[in-house]
Symmetry: C2
Subunit: 581 residues, 2 copies
Amino acid sequence: MGPAGLSAGPLPHRPGRIEPVSHSHPELNEPSPIPDGGLRIIPLGGLGEVGRNMTVFEHAGKILIVDCGVLFPEDSQPGVDLILPDFSYLEGRWDDVVGVVLTHGHEDHIGAVPYLLRHHREIPVIGSELTLAFIEAKLKEHRIKAVTRLVREGQQDSLGPFDLEFVAVNHSIPDALAVMIRTTAGSVLHTGDFKMDQLPLDGRITDLRAFARLGEEGVDLFLVDSTNAEVPGFTAPERDIGKVLSNVFAEAGGQIVVASFASHVHRVQQVLDAAHAHGRKVALVGRSMVRNMGIAKELGHLDVPEGTLIDVKHITDFPPEQTVLMATGSQGEPMAALSRIANKDHRVSVGPGDTVIFASSLIPGNENSVFRVINGLMRLGAKVVHQGNAKVHVSGHASAGELLYCYNIVRPKNVMPVHGEIRHLVANGALAVQTGVPAERVVLAEDGVVVDLLEGKARIAGAVPAGYVYVDGSSVGEITDAELKDRRILGEEGFIAIFAAVDATNGTVLTGPHIQARGMAEDDAVFDAILPDVTDALNEVVARGNADTHQMQQAMRRVVGRWAARKLRRSPMIIPTVVEA
Amino acid sequence: MGPAGLSAGPLPHRPGRIEPVSHSHPELNEPSPIPDGGLRIIPLGGLGEVGRNMTVFEHAGKILIVDCGVLFPEDSQPGVDLILPDFSYLEGRWDDVVGVVLTHGHEDHIGAVPYLLRHHREIPVIGSELTLAFIEAKLKEHRIKAVTRLVREGQQDSLGPFDLEFVAVNHSIPDALAVMIRTTAGSVLHTGDFKMDQLPLDGRITDLRAFARLGEEGVDLFLVDSTNAEVPGFTAPERDIGKVLSNVFAEAGGQIVVASFASHVHRVQQVLDAAHAHGRKVALVGRSMVRNMGIAKELGHLDVPEGTLIDVKHITDFPPEQTVLMATGSQGEPMAALSRIANKDHRVSVGPGDTVIFASSLIPGNENSVFRVINGLMRLGAKVVHQGNAKVHVSGHASAGELLYCYNIVRPKNVMPVHGEIRHLVANGALAVQTGVPAERVVLAEDGVVVDLLEGKARIAGAVPAGYVYVDGSSVGEITDAELKDRRILGEEGFIAIFAAVDATNGTVLTGPHIQARGMAEDDAVFDAILPDVTDALNEVVARGNADTHQMQQAMRRVVGRWAARKLRRSPMIIPTVVEA
C-alpha cells in the first residue's frame, strides 16, 4: 500500500504555508534508514481519521509505541467489526519494541492492544492504574496475560533509549496521561487526548506547570490532540452538567433513563450524585458499563453514595419515580439497551411521564440511529433530554482556545497535530502558526507518513503502509477492500447466481440453467423469464465448437447482465457457474 | 399494513396531554365511513419522517390532495432510489380526485407526482408559476403531459366541494404557497413549508395579513410545518448570507467553488451578486442546477447581472481568480461534481489557494459523506468554508419563535403538526399548546392516521395503509422490506451458495457440491474445506431413504451454516440448491 517507484528523499516545505501531506503523496517513497542520531516518528493511525490512534517512535534501533487503538467502521464498511492499525512496519522488528505506552483507557487508544500482543506477547504495556485495569479486563477476554508496568503522573521511566516522563492530563475518562519522550535526538511531548477543565470533578487538572517546565527545558516536537481544534473558545467544565442533571431530575415525575458512554466515570458520578440528591436508586445497564464502573469504584475513581447503586434485577422493587437506569446505547446502537427500550424489546419499559436523558455527544455518522431511538422514545410518550435541548454533555477534548494556551506555554520547535480528520489537523496546525510556530515547522502528516526529527527539525522522510486492517468475525486482516466492495454491491443490488452442469464430452447441458437470486424481487418467477435466453446462449457457445466452461460462464453472465439492466434497471452481482459432469 | 382485528372507533384523548398517535396504534382500525358533513384528513406521508409529504382531504365524496413528494432512502434501505407514499387508499377512487395542489417545487413535495399520474393522468395539478414549471420539467422526463392549473397568491379557486384560497409564504424556493381549504365541514389552513423572513430577497413575505384575516374568519384545523419546531428563536434572513459571501469572495485569491441545493434560487442569486461585485464569472455545474436556474431566470425569479453567467465549458478561458463554480453535491453525493473534484476525478481541479464554500445545510445522516468531501478538498490544500465556521446557510423553515407568531395570529381551533419526525411534531404541538390551543385539540398523528373534522373538532378516526413504497430500478412497489433485509444481510455478511445435482432415481450425487461465496474471504479455497462435510451430509440424507431435494438442501444449509459460525464467526446468507437430473 505504500507509494513506490519514486525517488526517495524528504518533501520540500513551502515556506509560510502549512499543507497536509497524504501517505499517498506521489513524491513520498519508502524512507531511507534513520539518519544517525535521529528520531523517527510514524503515525500508524489516528491522523486523518478519528480512531485507531497509534504512533511509533524509533531511535537507536529500538521502537516505542504510544497507544494502540481501534477505529469503528462506517456504513461503507459493512459487516466489519473493528479496524486496526496496520502493524506490518513492525514485522521482523518485534524484539526491538521496548513497550507500548497507553495514554488512557478509551477503545480508540487501547482496543488494538490484544491484536498487537498476538504478534509478540512480551511487549510491556505501560499506563496509569485505571488504564491498566481497563486493558487487563480487555486482555482477559482475549485470554492474554500481558506484562504491565504501572506509572503515575510526575513519574519518570526508561525504556531502552527512550526516557519517559508522565504528565497528568484531564479527559473524559480519569487517570489520563501525556508523555514526554526524551532521546538523544530530541524531546517529544505527546498530549494524548486531553482538555483543560479547570475545575474537574476529581481535582486532577491538566498539569500546565509540568507543560511549562518541559517547555522551558525544550520540546522539539509537540504532538497535540486535534479533535476539537475547529471548535472556537473553551470546552465547558464537566461540573456544569451536574446542575442541569439535577434540574431535570427535579422536574421528572416517572422513571429516569440516562444514556452515556460506558467509560465516562465522571458522567456516571454526576448521575449518581443527582440520583442521591433526589432520592432515587441507580441501576447500571449494559455489560461494559457494569464492568467499567466496577473497576472505577474499586480503584477509588467512582464514589457511590451509600445505598444508591442497586442491581438492575431489583429495579422493579422500587416505584419508577425512585429509580434511574444508567445505560449504554447513547449512539443508537441497535442492540444496546436504549434502542431495545425504544423498540419495546426490553424488560424495562418507558412511557408517558418518563424521562430519557442522552448525556452524551452525537458522534457524526450516528445521527440517523440516534434520532431513530429518540423518535421511538417520544412515540412512547417519554420526554427526551439531549445535547440539542439541554447542556447534558461536554466534550472531552480541548477546544481552540485551550490549544492556544498549550502552544504558548510549551513553545515547541516543531508541531505535529494528531488525532483527527484532515480538517481537524489543518485547524490545529493553523492554531500553532497563530502562536508563532513557523508554518514550515508544522507537520501535517497523515497515517503512514514518516517524520524524522534531527537537529531540532522535523522533516517528512517517506511513507510506510498504513492501510485499514479489518477485524471481521474471526478473521484479522483477511477481508480486503475488494470484499467490502463485493458486500456493498450485494447490499445495494443483490445477486443472481446461475448454475449449469454440462456433458464433459460434448458440452450438452445436463441440468440447468438454475437461477438463485436475492435482494431484487419477492417473486422468483421474475427470473424464470430469462432461462430460455440463457439456454440459447449456452447452446450457441457449444455450437461454435471448442467451448470451455469459462466461455459458457461468460455467455451466461452477458445475457443475465443485459436482461437485469434492461428489464430491472439494476446491476446485480452475477455469478455464473458451469461445471462439467 | 393497516392495523386490523380491533374494534373501530375514535381514540380517546387524555385531557391536558398531547400524545403522538402512531399508525400502528393497537386501538386504531380501518375507519368507518366519513360522518355526514365531515371532512376527513389523511396524511399519507411526511408525518413521522422528513420527506414524501402528502395529505389527502376527503369531503362529500370527493378527494383533494395537497403535495405528493418523495423521501430519500437511508443507509438501512440499500439500493433504493426513492420512497413514495402508499397510494393504495386512493385505489378505486381515482375518478373522485379533483386535484393535487403543490405548495412549492421541492422534491419532497412534488417528486411523487409522476407516479401518482401514472394511476390517473387526468388529475389536475395546481400550483404557482415556478412550481408548475418545475413539475412540468420533471413530468417531461417521465414523458407525461399533465393537466395543470396556474394559481397565484391571493387567488381563489374551486375544486369540487373544496374552495381554495392561496396565500404567499416564504421558503427556500421562490413562489411557495400556503392553502386555505374551505368546506361545509370547516376550514383547514395548510402552511406547506414556510418561514417568515421579514426581508426576503424578492420582497415576497409570508402573508401574515392573510393569515390574520383567515384566523378572524375561523381556521378549524391548522396544518403547520414542524421542521424547525425544536429550534429556538427565529430563522435568520437569507439576506445575511450575502454579506458573508461577499467577505469570503473578497479574501479569496484563487478559484471559488460554491455548493448548494439545485433549486435554491435566492442562494444562487446571492452568489451571482457576490461574483459580480468581485469581478468574477459564474458557471453552473450539475444538470439539475442548470435546468432549474434556466427556468428561474426565464420566469423572472433569478436576476443575472449582465455578463456574469458563463457556460462551464468556457471557465478555463478565465484565470481562476476571476471565476466561480456554482455546483450541486453539497450533501457529499458521491457522483456529484463536488465529490468528484475532491477525488481529483473532474475536469475542474482545486488546489492550494482555492476556496470551496458549502452554502448549504448538513442534512442529518449525510455527515460522513460531507466530511469525506471536506477532508478531500482540504487534503488538496483548499480552504473550506461551511456552516460550521461561517454563516453561509440559513434554514428554509420557521423556527419556534416564528411558529408562536403564527399560532397567535391564526388562533386555530385544532392543530395538526405536519412535516417532520415525531420529535419535530411533538415540539410543534407543544408550541401550539403554549399559545393556548387546548392539548386535546392538538392532533399528533403519524402517516396513515385518519383524522375527521366535524363540528369544529378534529378526532382520530382510524388508520389506513401508509407504508413505504420503494422505487428500485424500474420497479415501483415491488421491493419489500423482506428484500431490503436480504440486501442488508448480503451487504453485511455476504453469501454462500452451494449447488448439487443428484440422480432422480437414487439420490446419488451426480455433480457437486459446488460452492460460490462472496463478501467473506479473498481466497475461494477457504470454502473448499467444507466440501467433504457437505458431501457426507448429502450422503447421510440419501442413506436414510426417501430423501427429497428439500431435505438435502436443509442438510447442506445446516452444515455450511454451522461451519461459517464456528470457523468464520459469521452468519452469511446460505443458499443451497439441489436439483434432480
